[in-house]
Subunit: 369 residues, 2 copies
Amino acid sequence: MDASLRGISSPARLAAVGEAISHEELALATRNHGLPLEALRYDVTPPGLHYVLVHYDIPAADPDTWQLTVGGMVQDPLSLRVEALRALPARTVRVTMECAGNGRARLTPRPVSQPWLVEAVGTAEWTGVPLRTLLADAGVTQGASEVVFTGADHGVERGVEQDYQRALPLAVATGEDPPVLVAYEMNGQPLPPQHGQPLRLVVPGWYGMAHVKWLREITVVDRPFTGFQQSVAYRCRQTADDPGEPVDRMRPRALLAPPGFPDFMSRTRVVDAGSVTLTGRAWSGFAPVTQVMVSDDDGRTWTDAEVDPVDGHRWGWQAWRAIWTATPGEHVLTARAYDADGHAQPVVQPWNRGGFGNNLAQRVPVHCR
Amino acid sequence: MDASLRGISSPARLAAVGEAISHEELALATRNHGLPLEALRYDVTPPGLHYVLVHYDIPAADPDTWQLTVGGMVQDPLSLRVEALRALPARTVRVTMECAGNGRARLTPRPVSQPWLVEAVGTAEWTGVPLRTLLADAGVTQGASEVVFTGADHGVERGVEQDYQRALPLAVATGEDPPVLVAYEMNGQPLPPQHGQPLRLVVPGWYGMAHVKWLREITVVDRPFTGFQQSVAYRCRQTADDPGEPVDRMRPRALLAPPGFPDFMSRTRVVDAGSVTLTGRAWSGFAPVTQVMVSDDDGRTWTDAEVDPVDGHRWGWQAWRAIWTATPGEHVLTARAYDADGHAQPVVQPWNRGGFGNNLAQRVPVHCR
């Protein structure tokens, strides 16, 4: 740690009881953004509506001169321009991506960081080169165990100056479940600046922190990577000195596209009495979603929604719908997802000091007239 | 006012002394988003980085069947599909657009609404049909005085259920300063959903509330429009019963692209000692920016920056730069814009109950090492 940075960079902390959102948290919320929930209507999220979280600054990148290197424990280190990547066999994967910190601002006590409510998600079609192709071309040598990915975004976090870096176990990096990509297109267009222009990693099924943006270095190593984002941040810890569990695959979540229309300030929804079709999306990084249940009484009683099967897009969200008979008065709608691996979305908050993987069910207050 | 909506929709209010950002303000901040300030580097803001403010929901629009009507006090009412608009002579204008509420969350006392700091801005190339062309085709009749624009976004605000509506004086609607457009493209692409897909009004030089999105109706009238967004919201008032002044053209503002790199949480910048080129943008809806001054001591002393001339894009922002000799320690950078009409950006907060037109100079804390 650079001692001169202590004054501007603080350790992780929890908000005090009753402490409201700070100016610092607000500054992150005005920069980064979630998916406006009505945009759950689109199978693939249009540009600009997909959630964005940038740790430091969006780097100034020139796609024409950008170089990606593949080095470390390989026989033939590579240095590739975007054009060279585009010449290799490509793959397109529809991927639902969620920030690991989604839901953080609803936690009690609240970890002080990017203050997401429930909206840090989006689905895109990513096109690129399978990572396994690049690693095979470079020739991973005996004894390698992990692959480290370095982005061009540079900053300080809790006193540690760094380029953003994350690692994957070699088995994941070279595996097919999920199919890891070095992507150069999002929804058929070159990556926009905030999504990693010109190159990013895409790790379908994993929370967003794994999808390293502005990717410039891939390094094969033979020991556990202990960089800040791997061993300090993005761990599920109950106490400050708990080593914690790594954050990886997305836990199941269902989101409801709020029905009717909103009040500007409270975002409470207004619907007319009668039959209302509730629609939404659900996903899990572990396995397909097999069931979604909805409730109109804040989780006291539940009924089954109809859930679309995976239908060719294992790594994208699944649509669901349910008919609700709205009666005049105040209601709280909520939904829960269950996946084929037996994971169920909780209705009591899971909690950890970083506010990661919090898939507590969404609550949508509705006024029916 | 619909009495049944009172429970979900509150009057405008000011935050109490010491009252922090509420859950409701945060919900708006996570939906809407500003320009990450490093994106001031782009002459034209790339898709997804331009600020977005949506009052209600982004409507589900089908561009193929969308109809725009021109009616009211006209000889020949029109009903036009997007295709028909595309067949008319087009004009492209580079426009810097800023939310009228930019800066609101820095005010004391703070008006409770979308809590912008300084980032609610962006610059795009809008392509469309000059509004005067459509009004001439329809033939405005004698006695007309205003033109009302109705969008498809529907919601409740302070108890009033409404489609979003705003009006322009007829002289502005048919004038050339600014050139008002019915736009169907942003940066050469069809409008994305959050920017008005498929049609929006563009009123260069005016704050964002005038640029009605999801435009479906243009109505020529012969008396002052008194709709909610015209006579209740978007007025500069000092007291609740003050009728207030309308909000229209953007006041001058300079923004600095924060130099160096940030701390994740505090957003404080880190630079190395030595010569640092400060860059930014400046704009005014009244007249070209003629001067930008910068300060490295929180506004105690100022020096002139070099400002680019307008150079063909009167309605777009102007780039500026200044050399700063950074010395170790803590600094607060700030910048002020002045326009050719004699407007100067204030260093003491302007204040009104809605938090509109607040062009108080930005502050950028920098740690030099």
